[in-house]
Symmetry: C2
Subunit: 236 residues, 2 copies
Amino acid sequence: MADHSLPQQIADQLRRDILRGKLAPGAALKERDNASELGVSRTPMREAIRILAREGLVILRPSRSPLVADPSLKEVTDLIEVLRALEMLSGRLACIHATPQEIASIRAIHERMVALYDQVDSLDMFEIDMNFHLSIARASHNTALAETHAAYLARLWRARYLSASQKRSRERVLRQHGTIVAGLEARDPEMAVGEIENHLEHLLINIADLFAARDAERAAEAASERGAIDGDPQTA
Amino acid sequence: MADHSLPQQIADQLRRDILRGKLAPGAALKERDNASELGVSRTPMREAIRILAREGLVILRPSRSPLVADPSLKEVTDLIEVLRALEMLSGRLACIHATPQEIASIRAIHERMVALYDQVDSLDMFEIDMNFHLSIARASHNTALAETHAAYLARLWRARYLSASQKRSRERVLRQHGTIVAGLEARDPEMAVGEIENHLEHLLINIADLFAARDAERAAEAASERGAIDGDPQTA
DNA sequence: TCAATAGATTTGGTATACCAAAATTCGCAA
DNA sequence: TTGCGAATTTTGGTATACCAAATCTATTGA
């Protein structure tokens, strides 16, 4: 995770701030302010912002301040659709090309996740989950695939994190991971790929629910705010 | 194609130079030299190089000059494998989401390509071919998919260009494109996706042949060069 | 009271200066 | 002649200065 180049470090810091909500979606990222905040000059800060733009976490606008991305449900859904194709391909290739050591390592990650079930907080659990999927992609022995897959996971960080925080789905996730590992061990693409598809199908549903809940909350908030300012205005 | 930002323009220029062979694979891209060459400062040149690095056309090395990429057969094969998955997904989604206008426009591109068969040079033909595939990806109405697909096409530009230059495969390509368009018009994913898979399978084979031919050529070259320096050396 | 506009300010884009790490060159010694 | 090493040069990384476009503000006139 740790590239030691300065722009990469700055990008890591900003990414944390964005995902932790310290930088709200839609907020402007001013180069000078953020640079002096971290005690660096604008040059590496600019580069860091480009890195995050590539990951889809910020949006660049020509001659304007970059904004923290605030993806719509459609955009997130589109990303997951592509991620599903990438992970299914990963699974298929991993069944063919993964070494026994790699598969053992994937199982080890899975076992650790099972062992830590309801013992650690969402963030730690999520880091392990992330690793599980990255390892499968790497086991495909297709560098381009592993890179693109990692980029999509990064881009879906927030959405996946929110989804993983719903403790009620943890049991299902673990069961599905188990099936995927079994499929890899049996070198059975049908089993592995089928369960990967299933896994992401649930992610899709989960996230649609989260967006619906969030939108409802926002609507209620906006309504009560309007009410606080002036009583039930007829016109917008 | 034309973003008017300076770094983008520089990147376009460098891309042309790389793909035309003016900048050889493996060559170093020195910031100062290339910048003064184009009459700009290092700042936008640096950004342009990062853009090309993202596309995979140049390789960044920390604290060293970036190099023009020289992908191995394995790397190109890996890219095509992912491209195949992306295009198959595009085809499937396009069958569902493409508007009649979009499908008509894709057919128009195909018809133009048929009309210009053996009338224009490889480069023009290739531009049209590129457009055909990009249009299908856009017709999926999945922005992320279209972007990632475009990135892969850019990365495979050289390999695809070399493949398209082999006139003997043009007839097959046109036939396959025809089937793909028919599949879209019939909203028949089986037909469209199947033929897309077939299409890329042939690209894979084609490119493997090209690499084999190139390697043989290089080996012969190296051998004759060795012979010119000293007669049949026993040890390397 | 509101709208329009001109001036001031903020901000991204570009050029340039400076630094430290690589790479290269040249000289010295074996 | 060759191998090693120090000095020099080259080159990427960072900071900063400057510019132009975009935004904000305040003033003025209807």
